[in-house]
Symmetry: C2
Subunit: 236 residues, 2 copies
DNA sequence: TCAAAAGTGTTGAAAATACACCCATGG
DNA sequence: CCATGGGTGTATTTTCAACACTTTTGA
């Protein structure tokens, strides 16, 4: 007989908060739950941790299952362990958030899950404690994005400054001055201006930029002021 | 029959990284493990999550068990779930860090655990993945303390500016200019100068300060610049 | 009386903010 | 030709960093 015999063993699940950006708004990918309890209700994508499987692996597996995507940006957020959070049986949930390029995803959606993108302003009632998870994830993203360039994970390879600013404006529910905004992002040194323009959004067209991957990786953990006054995120 | 029958159930433990400040250095409280595996080796204080017990409850219970203290500052750090992290049986560990006033603790130590305070520069080899946990906790504390007044949790009710600066100097392994440091902390508006002085540390004596609890609670989540340039914590 | 630590102010540099006009082009 | 959105520069204010001397008093 092996093991710590007298202790209780508990189910462990992963839940993923999947963010995407459609060019004007931050969105959340939710699925319609296909089994009891709460069949038919909206929910985060999740699944049980399998035997021999680490959390990051499990999360990658679950993300791939729904979106078809590998090598998605993801980060462990928090673990929820309220003993009654799942009415069927005690289950703890290790929650991750993921940031994906919504365009890549569109091509690969797994239709089995009845997934839909929801605006953050219109999140429905979710099962269990999933609304709380979403709230925490939003505030973590706001927090982290104020200092680190994580939001680029939401953008396609080429993007314009107006798109980028839309993203920041939306996330912080404010309107940054575009002159100051462009100065701030350009002084990070992370962006490389392209020769082509994006022409569909305006008559004049806006220049494309690409991330300087090298500098991005090197400076990911530095403190870059994407937000001049982080106190704006107190209320989020 | 209830439950999600086909899934594996796993042991869930809590581990606590307990920080204290002895007036000149940040320290870590470790115990000598009293049972197999790894009996006799140094380890974080921990325990299994009990039936019906939430993580915060379990952590509070475990902290009380060792230190005798209730209402300790604690925060969930991360959950470690590598399938082989515990050689006896798969066990996930929900890790918390706690900041305690080392003086309060001294009176209440539970001798059963052979606990000792270790300087962060002299952490021994710990069991399992506990060294990794400690490393993550240190960097989280550095990160958070750069913007939020958490380090006051380590200090007694009355403390002096030189003591406070020792704490910050130690944590960031640097020496802040004391004029600039005192300006920074005073402009937070969180400190109330007392009439008495602390006389043991110097001939002149240093004025005591107390936290303005009201403002402390109100501003806990604001961004207060305790550290002027947070990039110094890149290397930690 | 002197060594040791506490306490305090100013100045120059850098960063952040506020603010307004011209440009390019598709319709 | 004009409406729409893209792009850019400057002046002012605020914040940060660097820096040195005086005070107190126990030994």
């Amino acid at each position: 007989m092996t093991g710590y015999s007298k202790q209780v063993r508990i189910l462990a699940a992963i839940d993923c908060i999947i963010f995407g950006f459609d060019g004007s708004e931050l969105k959340l990918l939710l699925i319609q739950r296909g089994f009891e309890p709460e069949r038919g209700k909206w929910s985060l994508m999740g699944g049980f941790v399998q035997e021999g499987e680490a959390f990051d692996q499990a999360t990658a597996r679950i993300l791939k299952q729904l979106t078809g995507l590998k090598e998605v940006y993801m980060e462990q957020l928090h673990t929820f362990g309220n003993p009654r959070r799942d009415p069927i049986e005690r289950t703890i949930s290790v929650v991750y958030f993921a940031l994906i390029d919504i365009d890549k995803y569109k091509k690969q959606l797994n239709e089995d899950y009845h997934a839909e993108w929801f605006s953050l302003k219109e999140i429905p009632d979710l099962i269990f404690d999933h609304n709380e998870m979403v709230k925490m994830a939003r505030s973590r993203v706001c927090y982290k994005a104020a200092f680190h360039p994580i939001l680029f994970e939401l953008l396609p390879e080429k993007f314009t400054l107006p798109q980028l600013q839309n993203l920041y404006d939306g996330i912080y529910d404010t309107e940054f001055d575009k002159r100051n905004f462009s100065k701030r992002v350009m002084t990070t040194g992370l962006l490389i201006k392209q020769k082509e323009k994006e022409k569909s959004g305006s008559k004049k067209g806006a220049f494309y930029y690409k991330l300087d991957k090298r500098k991005y990786n090197a400076n990911f953990h530095s403190f870059l002021n994407f937000i001049s006054n982080p106190n704006i995120l107190r209320d989020i």
